[in-house]
């Protein structure tokens, strides 16, 4: 399908989406920018990244010519028109990696960094770099930076994306490590090579395990979530802080209590204006469908405290990392629901209280028509003109995903 036809299909889909029956009146307009159709990718689990000028980048888990996934772009060509294109197709799992899940990272020179859950030399996942073409119309150059499972107790299966500080990449793996329960790793450039170091191996039990989310870095520390283990066995927000001699120490900041207090976070955390960490759990809460939480240390110091800001509606379960705006409002997505509910996921907004100690105000900005749980898994990205952009995993004409733009909220 040519780009022209993709745009045309998108226009048609817009109409379909707008006429769909959402559970509540939509407060925003959603426009489909791209519908996946196997050859151009399938199942975009990861979110989008925006280069700040005119281009969005994303990874599709599967599809493409060889079925191992693609890296795609959407370029704004004026007056809100986005033109999709493929910039890389994963071809050989052993040398390319395969099946990217997490979001991409844009480097300082426009490179894209990402992870693949499978492939690499050991079939256990990889980290890659895509360097933009030197000349317009040229191809992007893929470099495999690291293949997981290359040494004993190495991490394997990276689902989260990457963060970078001082030229060093940081990420997580779901499995592997000394206990087989996941790791936090770094990749440091060394000449033409990249040196991987396992910074921490999760132990399970009272420690957490199996992190899926991309890390957040602030003041030299790494913050993340893991869905299992921890003090209450329901996952936790953790921090890794650097020590001397290259050592890192882990601490659990907020261990989820389960039940109405929330459990099992798969999305990452963001740092709010007040310094607290905000995120989503996929379980617990009043509807057993997850919560939106704040994990913060009291101004007086001491133990970090988890506060439930919002109980997600039945069958919602947000896997996304939230985004915020200048007012401190939080935005997120859910892929839910199962057949019992009306929507294939929602985009929600939480407006902060106007008074100290007040409640956050939730609103559903948009409900994706359908009822199979094919909505967005990843979080949203701010684009130009105050638009939010995201991807659904299983919507569209082929039911293998779309990229959408949300405006008017």
């Amino acid at each position: 399908m040519t780009n022209k036809y993709l745009v045309l299909a998108s226009v048609l889909l817009i109409g379909m989406a707008a006429s769909g029956s959402a559970a509540s009146p939509d407060k925003a307009t959603v426009t489909t920018l791209l519908s996946f159709a196997e050859t151009n990718g399938a199942y975009p689990f990861g979110g989008l990244v925006y280069n700040g000028s005119n281009t969005l980048y994303g990874a599709a888990f599967a599809g493409g010519k060889y079925g191992y996934g693609v890296i795609y772009e959407l370029t704004e060509t004026g007056s809100g028109t986005w033109t999709p294109g493929l910039i890389y197709t994963f071809e050989n799992p052993a040398t390319d990696g395969s099946n990217p899940y997490g979001s991409l990272l844009i480097g300082s020179d426009g490179q894209l960094y990402g992870t693949t859950t499978r492939g690499g030399a050991n079939g256990l996942g990889a980290v890659f770099e895509l360097t933009p073409p030197l000349q317009q119309g040229g191809g992007w150059t893929r470099t495999l930076l690291y293949s997981f499972g290359s040494s004993a107790n190495d991490g394997v299966y990276p689902y989260g994306g990457l963060v970078m500080a001082n030229g060093v990449l940081y990420g997580t793996t779901v499995s592997g490590g000394a206990s087989g329960l996941g790791t936090v790793y770094s990749l440091m450039p060394s000449g033409d090579n990249w040196i991987e170091t396992v910074l921490y191996s999760f132990a399970g039990g009272t420690d957490v395990s199996n992190p899926y989310a991309t890390l957040t870095m602030a003041s030299g520390a790494l913050y993340g979530t893991a869905p299992y283990g921890g003090t209450n066995g329901s996952g936790a927000v953790f921090a890794l802080t650097p020590g001397t001699g290259g050592s890192w120490s882990e601490s659990l900041l907020c261990a989820f209590p389960g039940g109405t207090g929330g459990a099992n976070p798969y999305g990452g955390v963001i740092i709010g204006a007040s310094g607290g960490l905000y995120g989503a759990t996929t379980n617990g809460g009043s509807a057993s469908a997850g919560t939106i939480y704040r994990c913060a240390q009291p101004k007086t110091g001491g133990a970090w405290i988890t506060a439930v800001l919002y109980n997600l509606p039945s069958y919602a379960a947000s896997y996304s990392t939230l985004v915020t705006d200048s007012t401190g409002a939080l935005y997120g997505t859910t892929p839910g629901s199962h057949g019992n509910s009306a929507n294939d996921g929602i985009v929600f907004k939480l407006t902060p209280p106007t008074t100290t100690g007040g409640s956050w105000t939730p609103s559903t900005l948009y409900g994706f028509p359908g009822a199979l749980g094919n909505g967005p898994r990843a979080g949203l990205t701010w684009g130009p003109n105050g638009a939010l952009l995201g991807a659904t995993v299983g919507l569209g004409p082929e039911s293998i995903g779309t990229v959408f733009e949300m405006t008017g909220f």
């Binding site: 779901v174 395990s209 869905p227």
Partner: protein, 565 residues
């Protein structure tokens, strides 16, 4: 209800165990054929039987008496589509096969049994695709059920569950047992067990028998202290299980439309009488049994193992068992005690109590697999049961002590559990790593084919499973994941056969891999030129492999593959 085995009933269990062992041994021998199976010559009949879903009561999915198909001849040059048989309705059940069956005046045939959602059973020559007999299981004035407002099985619901065959011998015949759903002219729905002659399709004495019953309940669905089975509210989705002349029938909901609960019925197929009823969630709600088409497993002692869908699980225990007898989201072992089906043991994850509201924790999306006896590094033997559900966590439980429920959330009560190797899982069609097909076992490896994930094969050493796969496919498989079977000649020439969901343009069709190296693709129905072998596969029914042939369902058809002429 007290769900434990009562001590005074132990002698009954022992008696049943002895009988069960003999029958199970015979059944296993019949199911996989004999080790001295000769090379089949086309047209002369084979020796392998596939009498139940995934070949045997342990649900290994393996035919280890395949002497024709090998990794060296399964390629698109020498192997491909031979014929397509079109039936009168959608084929959702795995085709079954009896070799060398004496059909009386029709002669001796390898017979393929095909069930449709239009409530028709076909006996088809497995090589020539000619119809030997066909039988409608509809009674006068009835039609196959509508879809009950649920598109999971649509547009009709008739025979959904894979039937089971009780073979006396190829010369003496036997019966095929199926469950048919229908609707009469008054709008009433029916579920019936049918027992038909393998050779003629004739209903056996007492057949069919209507599936009906009630169960003691104090729950929200009870009336007068009972909940009653409503035929229109359910479909027999999980494959039937035959143990010791008793067939076990599990029921699933229609798209989780309430009210429903988890029903298991047992029928003696000789007397065509109901042996027993069990409900896995009598005092709660939900807890359906569907298994993505997979069925309950049974060991040589006649114990029945099943994985329960999302539903009430009582986190309050009495002597280690759920206080109200609600077993949602758990592995259970059923045994006969005092003439009744009872839970003898169970395993539940720490999050089992989240059901029925959290559908991600359900185990009912797949089916259990009993592993051969394994010995640990202390020399202790273990009979292990393995399975996974929507979250993709692989659980292994020891059938001698399944672990019950422990709320401390570590899952240390399982014999072993592995998180993270099958993706994050979850509910919904796009839940990566959710297990929605039944695993298979061959040569010390278990194969899982999760939703949108590669097929991963895990090895065992000292009765412990590797945390990481020994081998995995490079490709992923569309919703709901890869439906698998194994063929091999003993421990040699192992091939993993995969029914890949979707149309050819999305990678759907039949694939074959060397069982020990899933990175090498031997064959794909999408490889040959001009779409020679292409077809669309939907879901659930695994390939049936026997006597050099591979049979795969495709809408209202069964497509047969084999060595090309």
């Amino acid at each position: 209800m007290n769900s434990r085995c009562m001590p005074h009933a132990r002698h009954i269990l022992i008696h049943r165990a002895i009988r069960g062992l003999a029958v199970a041994t015979l059944t296993a021998l019949i199911a996989v054929g004999t080790s001295f199976a000769a090379q089949k010559k086309p047209g002369t009949g084979g020796t392998v039987n596939v009498l139940t879903f995934h070949n045997d009561q342990s649900r290994s999915g393996a035919n280890t008496a395949e002497t024709t198909l090998t990794p060296s001849n399964v390629n698109s040059n020498s192997f491909g589509k031979l014929w397509t048989f079109t039936a009168d309705g959608t084929v959702d059940a795995q085709p079954l096969l009896v070799s060398g069956l004496n059909m009386g005046n029709l002669g001796t045939h390898d017979v393929l049994y095909i069930a449709t959602e239009n409530d028709t059973l076909y006996a088809v020559d497995a090589e020539a695709s000619t119809i030997l007999w066909q039988k409608s299981l509809l009674l006068t004035g009835e039609a196959a059920s509508d879809n009950r407002g649920c598109t999971q099985i649509s547009p009709k619901m008739g025979i959904t569950a894979t039937p089971v065959i009780n073979l006396i011998s190829p010369s003496q015949g036997g019966v095929i047992v199926a469950v048919a759903m229908s609707k009469d002219s008054s709008g009433n729905y029916h579920q019936r067990v049918h027992s038909l002659s393998l050779t003629t399709g004739a209903e056996q004495t007492g057949s069919p028998i209507a599936i009906q019953g009630s169960y003691a309940s104090k729950g929200p669905q009870s009336s007068g202290g009972l909940i009653s089975f409503s035929p229109g509210g359910y479909k027999a989705r999980a494959a039937l299980l035959l143990v010791d002349n008793t067939v076990y029938v599990e029921f699933a909901s229609n798209c989780d439309t309430p009210p429903y609960s988890g029903w298991i019925f047992a029928y003696n197929i000789t007397s065509m009488t109901q042996n027993g009823i069990f409900n896995v969630s009598p005092n709660g709600e939900d807890g359906a049994l569907w298994g993505s088409g997979g069925g309950p497993a049974a060991d040589s002692d006649g114990n029945i193992y099943m994985m329960v869908g999302n539903g009430t699980f009582d986190t309050t225990l009495s002597a280690g068992f759920p206080v109200n007898g609600d077993y949602g989201n758990s592995f259970i072992r059923l045994a006969w005690s005092g003439g009744k089906l009872q839970v003898a043991d169970y395993f539940a994850s720490f999050d089992a109590g989240d059901g029925p509201t959290d559908e991600r924790v359900e185990l009912g999306s797949s089916a259990p697999l009993l592993l051969p006896t394994m010995t640990d590094n202390q020399g202790q033997p273990h009979n292990l049961l393995i399975g996974s559900g929507k979250l993709g966590t692989i659980f292994i439980v020891d059938t001698a002590n399944m672990g019950k429920y422990v709320a401390t959330q570590s899952n240390a009560n399982a014999y072993q559990h592995v998180v993270g190797s099958l993706g994050p899982g979850g509910d919904g069609n796009d839940a990566l790593g959710a297990v929605r097909t039944a695993p298979v076992y061959f040569n010390n490896m278990v194969y899982f084919g999760p939703n949108l994930d590669p097929i991963e094969a895990f090895g065992f050493q000292n009765a412990t499973m590797s945390r990481l796969p020994v081998t995995a496919t490079n490709s992923i498989f569309n919703y709901p994941g890869a439906a698998m079977s194994i063929s091999a000649n003993g421990s040699n020439n192992g091939i993993l056969w995969v029914a890949s969901p979707g149309s050819p343009s999305t990678g759907g069709g039949l694939m074959a891999y060397p069982a020990g190296d899933l990175t090498s693709l031997l064959y794909s129905s999408n490889q040959a030129g001009n779409g020679r072998d292409q077809f669309t596969y939907a879901k659930f029914a695994p390939p049936t492999v026997a006597n050099g042939m591979v049979y795969v369902t495709s809408g209202s058809s069964v497509v047969a593959f084999g060595l090309l002429p």
